[in-house]
């Protein structure tokens, strides 16, 4: 909180003390999700079938691997922000809230890292 401009004097004084950044990121990732999920559904509908050969060949190309990695980032990030709000709304005991949000952060980062590494494994041909 600053003490210069009128906005600086009131910033952070709302009941939650924070949130605008969270709110904006929720919208940014929502817009990202709309793009990557449209891409994913269109790609699924254009695949000849869902067998291993078709799907792995498709996903190993950079044109599919990059959006899939971005999809993992956007989706896990958005889910992390959304579940944080759910936890904050229903868990009021500070210790439990802290523990759950910590677990959520670790799970979201872990899930996204696993998804991105899996895509990279395919793209870099570790499975031949």
């Amino acid at each position: 909180m600053g003490n210069g401009t009128s906005i600086g004097r009131v910033r952070g004084l709302g009941p939650s003390h924070e949130g605008a950044h969270h709110w904006l990121l929720q919208r940014t990732t929502a817009a990202g999700n709309l793009i990557v999920m449209t891409w994913l559904l269109a790609s699924f509908l254009m695949l000849p079938d869902f067998g291993y050969a078709s799907v792995s060949t498709w996903l190993a190309q950079p044109i599919a691997a990059v959006p899939m990695a971005l999809l993992a980032i956007s989706l896990f990030w958005h889910a992390r922000l959304g579940l944080q709000v759910v936890i904050e709304d229903y868990i009021h005991e500070p210790g439990s809230k802290f523990a759950l949000i910590t677990a959520l952060n670790l799970a979201a980062i872990g899930g996204a890292a696993f998804a991105i590494f899996s895509v990279a494994t395919l793209a870099f041909g570790a499975q031949g």
Binding site: A30, M37, Y52, L83, S118, T121, Q127
Partner: protein, 111 residues
């Protein structure tokens, strides 16, 4: 109010069920044909299809109410009749999109 609750429920469901399935799908692909066959084998059962159908409905529902949020965020759509119209239309459009997706999958892909 129902639209708001559905937004939260579908979002939570996709986060807790959909994202683990996405990670499993990608991990199985990276692990090779056998692991992928295990994934498709389980998701190809009736309960598997029920989960996938439910997730696709959750996605479209969350997408429509999310798009409605975008409009409300810019300060538009607060007239009672307009607001009510889209709160009713969003889940209906979502259901139509879900049916359209699975019709395509069933008819064009023979799934």
């Amino acid at each position: 109010m129902l639209v708001s609750i559905l937004h939260r429920v579908t979002g939570s469901a996709m986060a807790l069920v959909g994202l683990p399935l996405l990670a499993w799908f990608l991990g199985a692909l990276a692990s090779g044909p056998e692991a992928y066959a295990t994934f498709t084998g389980i998701m190809g059962t009736l309960p598997g299809y029920v989960v996938l159908f439910g997730l696709s409905w959750a996605f479209f529902n969350h997408m429509m109410s999310g798009l409605r949020h975008f409009v409300l965020d810019i300060g538009a759509g607060y007239d009672l009749d307009v607001n009510r119209f889209w709160s009713v239309a969003s889940p209906i459009i979502a259901a139509a999109l879900t049916i359209a997706l699975w019709s395509w999958l069933l008819l064009a892909k023979g799934i």
